[in-house]
């Protein structure tokens, strides 16, 4: 029961949030390494995710080199190619995007944005990072294991994933992959409990749920989804490990390998697909919802205008979160399932477009007649909107059974999901880093380098993925090492593939500019001050920048208004911080 009272003169009600006993680090080790401070953990998550993400980026270069110039590079044989695509996909989806959005931004922003001193269970939070690091190390170890990493494709479909024809299937590759995922999920659960309970219980006085910035709403909802969806991947991984190591037949049908009857029999590969996609589809939104939230805040702040339809935005986030659990089988249209199921899942898939479209309208309407500052965060936010619309529209194609069947497993699908859950969230991540870097370090990122990074990445991403749609429409299948002599593939496709490869190399190189910028600005960037974007949300109102351990100094902030009081008529400045008590508007009685 939350009561909002207007009027400022009243005595402050007793604090509903007890001031927590903070853990205080005693040494360099507990301050910077085994730290329980969410901000340090966030940076640890961010650095680890970026490092492993760079591996995935390098792998994408190798994949493109093979596709653009087949057979030129001896290093890339068929086995290596499959290992590259598998590891590229898995790293990008789980170990980079999920870890960075929830572990990185979640840890940094949730306590600061809701006005808490730290997460509610700091020790579990610390463990969460170290277990994540262990998962990453196990994953990396598979590159050095005998037989190399698994090449089963990021979806790890059995039975091929554990057979000798697949790289890593009979060696260490698949075992390390599955173990790494299990470890990741255990670590994530520890972090996830923190994010959820901190939002529920750690909010500052006055921070009602409907006053939370949309960033927090996005990360919160995504975390709830991840907590409920990851168990599906967990169960699938455990069962496949049993099949691989202990000879059970959960997923493995009777099978003859190299002329030899294996001991498996009766298992159901489709069962794995159900479990995998029961996690896999919510995973798309686990990545997308934090991006939705963050981009809403970037747009509102840099257009100096309140977010259009805040309530609708919150509802849409929650509805998308719920719906995303009943669309999973649209990844399985060609698995031979009952056509009525296909009809059901196509319907739910198309319904999810409604709340998503509402969000897009609201972003555009927020921009409409806003005072748009084309800062770097804003540029990336705009790039996100167009990219997300593009990727979303091809999603409508693929959501329909009859259109999906011919397009299934073609490069069109690859182009679609890279646009919608690759490029679009990454744009938000970049925008968010340009936006919050001044708070994290106290210095601004270099603008010139930033613009180079933005334009090369934005135009380059389109140079990569627009032609790829065409390649897919022609019928070029995904996951093929080489096309060989294929009559239906015209010569132009080969030229396009070479073009895409060149673009991918350039876009990849632009990320090095970005990393350089991050390192260079740490010492040489312009001093940012506490609130360089003149933003309203609480993290910009900390007494010190970067915020110290405990965030708020002596007293916790008290929240008096929602997060989007920009350009309020009659206010002395064009923004009113959330913890600002004076009534900023002329008076809403007069306005309404």
């Amino acid at each position: 029961m939350v009561d909002v009272r207007s009027g400022i003169g009243e005595a402050l009600p007793p604090p509903e949030v007890e001031d927590v006993e903070l853990y205080h680090p005693h040494s360099w080790w507990t301050r910077y390494v085994f730290s329980q401070d969410a901000k340090v953990i966030a940076i640890q998550y961010g650095t680890t995710a970026t490092a492993i993400g760079m591996v995935a980026l390098a792998l994408s270069w190798l994949i493109r080199l093979q596709l653009g110039f087949p057979g030129t590079f001896e290093l890339i044989d068929a086995d290596a190619y499959y290992q590259f695509i598998t590891m590229h996909g898995m790293i990008m989806v789980i170990y980079l995007l999920t870890a960075l959005f929830l572990g990185g931004f979640g840890n940094y922003l949730i306590p600061l944005m809701v006005g808490a001193r730290d997460m509610v269970f700091p020790y579990a939070n610390m463990l969460s990072y170290w277990i994540y690091l262990l998962a990453v190390l196990v994953l990396v170890a598979s590159f050095f294991a005998p037989g190399g990493p698994t090449g089963a494709g990021w979806t790890l479909y059995p039975p091929q994933a554990v057979l000798s024809g697949t790289p890593g299937g009979k060696d260490w590759g698949i075992i390390l992959m599955l173990s790494s995922l299990i470890i990741f999920i255990i670590g994530f659960t520890m972090g996830g409990l923190n994010y959820v309970v901190t939002v529920l219980q750690g909010r500052a006085r006055g921070m009602t749920l409907m006053r939370m910035p949309l960033t927090v709403w996005g990360i919160f909802t995504a975390t709830v989804m991840a907590l409920l969806a990851f168990p599906a991947l967990f169960v699938a991984c455990v069962m496949m490990l049993f099949d691989r190591l202990l000879g059970t037949s959960f997923f493995m049908p009777a099978i003859i390998e190299m002329g030899e009857q294996l001991q498996y029999g009766g298992g159901s590969p489709i069962l794995f697909q159900h479990l995998f996609w029961f996690f896999g589809h919510p995973e798309v939104y686990i990545v997308a919802l934090p991006a939705f939230g963050i981009v809403s805040d970037l747009i509102s702040t840099h257009a100096r205008k309140n977010i259009f339809g805040y309530r609708m935005m919150v509802w849409a986030i929650v509805i998308i979160g719920g719906l995303s659990f009943i669309v999973w089988a649209h990844h399985m249209y060609v698995s031979g399932m009952n056509p009525y199921f296909g009809f059901f899942f196509a319907t739910t898939t198309l319904i999810i477009a409604v709340p998503t479209a509402i969000k897009v309208y609201n972003w555009v309407l927020t921009l409409w007649r806003g005072n748009i500052h084309l800062t770097l965060p804003m540029l990336f936010a705009l790039a996100f909107i167009v990219t997300f619309v593009n990727g979303g529209l091809t999603g409508l194609f693929l959501g329909n059974v009859v259109v999906d069947v011919p397009l299934s497993d073609t490069m069109f699908v690859v182009a679609h999901f890279h646009m919608v859950m690759g490029v679009a969230p990454i744009m938000v991540i970049f925008g968010a880093i340009y936006h919050w870097y001044p708070k994290i370090t106290g210095r601004m990122l270099n603008e010139v380098l930033g613009h180079i990074h933005f334009w090369v990445t934005f135009i380059g991403a389109y140079a990569i993925f627009f032609p790829m749609h065409y390649v897919g429409l022609v019928g070029v299948p995904r996951r093929y090492y080489e096309l060989g002599e294929t009559t239906f593939v015209p010569e132009s496709v080969h030229d396009l593939n070479a073009f895409i490869t060149v673009a991918a190399l350039i876009v990849g190189a632009a990320q090095i500019v970005f990393l350089f910028n991050l390192a260079w600005s740490l010492r040489h960037g312009r001093e940012a001050g506490g609130n360089p974007w003149r933003a309203t949300t609480l993290e910009w109102q900390t007494p010190e920048t970067p915020p110290p351990h405990g965030n708020w100094g002596k007293e916790l902030p008290v929240v008096y208004r929602w997060a989007y009081d920009y350009s309020v008529p009659g206010a002395p400045e064009d923004f009113i911080p959330q913890n600002h008590p004076t009534p900023g508007r002329l008076s809403h009685e007069g306005a309404s």
Partner: protein
């Protein structure tokens, strides 16, 4: 995947019920000023954390049970004779649950001595349950029902193993708590910990009862019955 979907629908119902109390219809842009919470006593974060964790565990088991039913449909499914020992184990686990509930009540009545004794008893029942489960495994393997022999066996060992690991985790927490309870006087935090252990144990008992029903075939009959009602 019906079971998993039903479980998540239940979780969704709780979430919707909770959201309905959060004034999602308010117009925050018009409401400047103090907002305060009228709840008398906010729930301790650890309790909410445990509730969320139990939802995750519930999701895990409901998905595994979904997989059980889907795999059951294939023709190679055999029947696993359940050792009678499992009945005793069920009793022991229930006893542990009752004991922890008693410990919670005693601790709230400030009966420190009684609480300590009961905690020790609960710890013993937990260890006894685990021992019983291992004995049941041994009885089954001795009778020739091996893990990879049949999918029914595989699921039995996997699910009891998963449940057992959760009990091991619970015992770890309970063991630490008991050791602490015997060394210092009980305070508010420890009383809360006892209550949390009790909730966890009740939940694990519930999971076990569902699994036991599953293995003995009753759960399958119930599902068939529900299907008949629907068609």
């Amino acid at each position: 995947m019906t079971i998993a979907t039903v479980f998540l629908a239940a979780v969704a119902a709780v979430i919707v019920w909770w959201l309905a109390h959060q004034q999602l219809l308010s117009k925050p842009w018009l409401e400047v000023g103090h907002a305060y919470d009228r709840r008398r006593e906010p729930m301790p974060p650890a309790k909410i954390g445990l509730a969320v964790f139990l939802a995750v565990v519930g999701s895990l088991f409901s998905l595994a049970i979904s997989a059980y039913f889907m795999r059951m449909a294939s023709s190679d499914w055999g029947q696993l004779p359940l050792p009678g020992l499992l009945w005793i184990n069920t009793g022991i686990l229930a006893l542990g649950s009752v004991a922890l509930h008693a410990a919670k009540l005693e601790s709230q009545r400030r009966h420190d001595e009684a609480t300590r004794t009961i905690l020790l008893a609960a710890l013993a029942t937990g260890l006894a349950f685990l021992t019983g489960q291992v004995l049941a495994w041994r009885a089954l393997t001795a009778a020739g029902y091996f893990l990879a022999g049949n999918p029914a066996n595989s699921f039995f060992y996997m699910l009891t193993g998963m449940h057992g690991l959760h009990i091991v985790g619970g015992l770890f927490a309970l063991g630490r708590l008991t050791a602490r309870a015997w060394s210092v006087p009980l305070d508010r935090r420890m009383r809360l910990s006892i209550e949390l252990c009790a909730i966890y144990w009740h939940f694990m008992l519930l999971v076990w009862l569902v699994l036991f029903g599953l293995f003995s075939g009753w759960a399958g009959n119930v599902v068939d019955f529900c299907r008949q009602l629907l068609t």
